[in-house]
Symmetry: C3
């Protein structure tokens, strides 16, 4: 990586050769990838790569954020994202505190902003927020003095998911520039799609959104992506397929083809792998529906990097926390 | 045992200039403020002030209780108090463990005392207990060898809330002696009121309890406080107003005026601020009902110290844990 | 503040004389006691004894597993076992992460194996699993590269419970060889019974299973234990009684005598204590039903070691984690 290195010393068990945060980095919040530059995205990826290597033996605990506190404020169900943030914080030596909608003061009539300000008043350094309403993290960032990280705001953005997807592609295929990446499936409900699109376009990739017409609007072309309704047509051109989860729990509103029909047209199976580029990467943000977005053979096959995405998620979140809490803000 | 030995060493951190605990301090539990002396209360406030300063940059983790374990045993819903205790323990380096009523052995028919003794047998040093029955922490303290901290026992006491309220007043107005402090609103259901009254009277303050007759009995005069049914009459004399939350969820039993009527007579608004002393402090234990106990302008205005109370809550709980677990007991 | 100041230095924690793990230890998982040898069981007991002493002052935190992560994956209600594993991990310096069935990705249609692999991909070193289906931990161990610890799989095994029971007996009565130990009560539903039987037989003890015919099948004799339907008959021969909990929540399927009848025939009371050996140990895995398996006088009496079992549970789980994560695997 191209950034200067400087020795960061904390207690002896975490003496690591940490890269220096450049003066140009001046973000306090991570609300989305839409408003980051290519070089800012690259910086986060570089730090994540460094932390991935530093902790990949499973034994390294870094105390870079010792004495800091990270609060999880999740108002939608989540296991993997919440725990990923929590582990990222702990591995940097920070304390964590968990708030959720059930059993909270919100149930006693407190406003959301008052809840968040109360959490901040406990000397919290960063609030990680998930909420069904788009824009909630942005609103919080206007009211809080601490850092705010968007862990998913409705169908809007999920920036750390976009970053971990991009990091995984970069690890396998190198520079993003010139690659063709298809996001397949439930684009309409997907914050993962939006964050991927912003990040991938900035780094020079070509993006295709592909799925049934009820889930993929022609309007997406305005963002600068190609819209396709046929996986089989675009398949030979793709370097990466990111198979978005069919969110059955959100399909009540708009018509959805039967699972059988969806699978027939959009599921990745061995037969479609044979018609793909030899080095094609199969990604999925998970949790996956085996037999829907992809067959078990593909999910567990040599092209799948689904579990690497999970591992990279920790590294991206560690990098995010480190940059936001130690940068020049 | 016959295995070979090897020396495993890590390092000491957090060498701080900590005040010495005086020999006169001999409490093992914090059950309420009723039975503490003025000098004991002052000692807790002094330690909290020290810890508040030591940790106020948000980066200091003290390892004074490293290797100790604090158990939260909450049998009523709580987010802020439970997390405040948990963060206080973690910032002192202690481990924490959470027990709650749902999913616990109590659901399998175990008695409350057996549950608590089982927790203690896991080598827990302090149990923080919240329960709807007054006297539960006292009962536990008779059965456990570890420290017991009352985090609210029905309408009886909530000593750390009383202490953090008093610390906040002292930070702004200095000595409590001679100040006039009104507790306004739902006195009948309020453990916060009781703990405030005991603490404030011991430190020489004058206390007024003020609210609708259905929520404020004349019997309170026996404790040595003034009873008033008119906020407007007492307003010019008050240095501090502590606006207790209207607990709508507990009002089923006794008649309550309409919210509109309550607001008309007891809510703090800008107009009432103008008729108050220029330095009046507006406090509330939270979660607040905006537009009920106080208007948003007052909650967010220059007299409000509501968020400072939250911050002081951590310091008071750190001081409590430190004194109980390191004192001469 | 006016108090004297003194420099408080925390002791260099975890400077300990740790026993070396012998080369012969080569287990990666703890799935049950059925397939461990007597010397392997003894090794775990020895390490637990060492850790019990090292941490028994309540102040010692060992950093032997610093930088490691232990995941709790509990798909059945549990407070004591889950918290016992969690505290064991924390006292060894490991990070912990909690997954449960509610609010997890399983609710979104993910398979159990995918959930577990996702957790592992977060660089988790050990998964502690409880599940209602016998064999779940074994299945997981075939799919995961990390260590798997069985915290109870249906009525099959609960090896750390068996080990902590045996450790408690050894502390009081020395060698297990030649002792007579009766497991009393609900044998049919009890994973504790199975793990005790395997462990006790390997260490040379005589085991009797005793209870109503509906809960104790003659088939148990095939394992090498004696079957009895009369506590009074076997009582004079027993060195230890392990009183298994009547799991009322699981009794729907098969006929159960009335509680009154059960108590008459199988409950330990003062009168039965008088007809026992003078040094008899009374054990129970808990949570206990006072007045059912034993009277309060016996539960709180001089023969009861029920709370010591809880304390030993932490030591056994620390030893297990240490051996699995630091051994030659």
């Amino acid at each position: 990586m191209s950034h200067e290195s400087a020795l960061v010393a904390t207690t002896p068990h975490s003496l690591i050769n940490a890269p220096r945060i450049p003066d140009s980095w001046n973000h306090k919040h991570l609300l989305g990838l839409e408003h980051l530059t290519a070089s800012e995205i690259t910086l986060i990826l570089d730090f994540a790569e460094f932390l991935h290597k530093a902790t990949s033996n499973g034994r390294t605990k870094l105390d870079l954020l010792k004495g800091r506190t990270v609060a999880n404020l999740f108002f939608e169900n989540s296991t993997r994202t919440k725990n990923s943030f929590s582990l990222a914080a702990k591995r940097l030596g920070a304390d964590t505190v968990e708030f959720s909608s059930s059993g909270s003061s919100v149930a006693k009539g407190e406003t959301f902003i008052d809840t968040a300000k109360t959490i901040e008043a406990m000397l919290v350094d960063a609030v990680v927020v998930r909420h069904s309403s788009p824009g909630t993290p942005h609103m919080l960032s206007n009211h809080l003095a601490c850092s705010v990280i968007n862990a998913g705001d409705g169908p809007h953005e999920h920036p750390t998911q976009g970053l971990l997807d991009i990091l995984t592609i970069r690890q396998h295929l190198g520079s993003l520039s010139g690659l063709t990446i298809a996001l397949v499936g439930d684009i309409a409900h997907s914050r993962t799609a939006r964050s991927n699109i912003w990040g991938l376009l900035k780094l020079g990739a070509k993006v295709i959104v592909c799925g049934p017409a009820t889930l993929v609007s022609k309007n997406w072309e305005k963002l600068g992506v190609e819209v396709s309704y046929s996986l089989d047509k675009i398949l030979p051109r793709c370097d990466v397929l990111n198979l978005l989860r069919i969110q059955f729990e959100r399909q009540a509103i708009r018509p959805f083809p039967s699972v059988h029909e969806y699978t027939l047209l959009y599921a990745m199976n061995q037969e479609r792998i044979r018609r793909s580029k030899p080095e094609i990467l199969i990604m999925a943000p998970g949790p996956i529906n085996r037999g829907v977005e992809l067959t078990p053979e593909v999910a567990d096959g040599p092209h799948s990097v689904i579990l690497e995405q999970v591992t990279n998620g920790i590294a991206i979140r560690m990098a995010t926390l480190w940059l936001l809490l130690n940068g020049r803000t």
